[in-house]
Amino acid sequence: MLPHLDAAYNLARWLTRNDHDAEDVVQEAMLRAFRFLDGLRGEAKPWLLTIVRNSCFTWLQVNRPAELAGFDDRTAELHLVDESSPEALALRQCDRRMLNEALAALSAQFREALILRELEDLSYKDIARITDVPIGTVMSRLARGRRLLAESLQAISNASQLHK
């Protein structure tokens, strides 16, 4: 029984976007977690996911630096909800494959925030700890991530309309 192994793998799989690499990163991260078990304070899940997340980003920096380049939160506009948005229909019509593709295409920082929030049900506080940013940044990343996801689903939906 390895606690939270599924959560660790799910995060690594979404960040590396590849089964083989996710397995390698998680194995290394779990062994490191085991070694630093004394550093465990508070709940185990956010603690473990912090280690897995850091391993993923180190791996991305070495193997896919282009994916992390050019990401900058600070230039982001205020994370306001757009009240008049046309994406509702695209969202309702999108299938599993389209949604997974759109999610995988987001920047790693938006992707991890959404995965931790929606698939792992973690609080803003835990996500802030795992991704090492302030809670305000977690909020704006979730807001922008959802916005970009909606736009990308809209674009996919428009493209498939054209082909019909």
Partner: protein
């Protein structure tokens, strides 16, 4: 609340991260603004779409096997068997924290009939999940669970089939809450177990949401039955589930 502020807080509201005072302010704003209400609905749909359709990648069994094999190589220099408790430490720490917060939650409850029931249903849920004995009758078929429970109780609990909405019936069990035997219907949503406690009640009661560190509770009374839902599922989805069950209870 200004429109700007409402637009800024909407994500936190949908994520259940807004404090009670701000939530009330925002709800008042939503009640008056159809456009903001529509935006809130869209956010909920987006959140639900990701939860329902994004793939959850569970760890392959080969990875767990590789990890087990590598554990003795850790610098503890401990023999294979002695290394095991180390792996269990996070789980034990987690369980201790969960029990502690649960204990604190119980202590901080105000006395009173409702709070006592909240205490009892929460205790029943935690006992069942910790003991891994969730049901006396395991079946996803409502027509098997309902007669089993009816045969052992002085009433016949309504058992709704809501699998179309992603809530799978797992089975049912009997428990003793508030001085009477009650039915417990066990549903599952992804990896979350939801206990639905049902017993006869005369008065109707509007849906009410409680939270006890880590566990969410929804309650309502309708159609002659009192319903209490307990789960570690997030508040939004448990609320949706309660509304689904209320819909079924209203039109049997």
């Amino acid at each position: 609340m200004t429109r700007e502020e409402a637009r800024r807080l909407l994500h936190a509201y949908v994520d259940g991260e807004l404090d009670a005072a701000k939530s009330l302010e925002l709800e008042a704003h939503l009640a008056e603004n159809p456009a903001a209400r529509a935006a809130c609905e869209r956010l909920r749909e987006m959140s639900a779409a990701i939860r329902d359709r994004a793939e959850y990648h569970a760890a392959p069994p080969s990875l767990a096997a590789r990890l087990r094999a590598s554990v003795p190589a850790a610098p503890e220099k401990a023999p294979r068997r002695a290394a095991w408790p180390g792996w269990l430490k996070p789980a034990a720490a987690f369980a201790a924290v969960a029990l502690l917060t649960w204990g604190v939650a119980i202590l901080s409850l105000r006395p009173g009939e409702d709070e006592r029931i909240a205490q009892e249903v929460l205790a029943s849920h935690v006992r069942a999940t910790l003991g891994n004995r969730m049901f006396d009758v395991a079946s996803s078929d409502q027509h098997a669970v309902k007669p089993w429970l009816s045969a052992r109780l002085a009433f016949s609990p309504p058992v709704a089939d809501v699998s179309a909405h992603g809530f799978e019936l797992q089975g049912g069990r009997l428990d003793y809450i508030g001085g009477q035997s009650v039915a417990v219907l066990v549903y599952q949503r992804r990896q979350h177990v939801i206990d639905v406690f049902v017993w006869p009640a005369q008065a109707q009661k509007a849906q009410q949401t409680l939270a006890r560190d880590g566990f969410n509770i929804e309650r309502f009374a309708l159609g002659g039955m009192s319903f209490w839902l307990v789960s570690d599922l997030n508040r939004n989805e448990l609320g949706d589930f309660a509304r689904l069950l209320a819909g079924h209870a209203a039109t049997p």
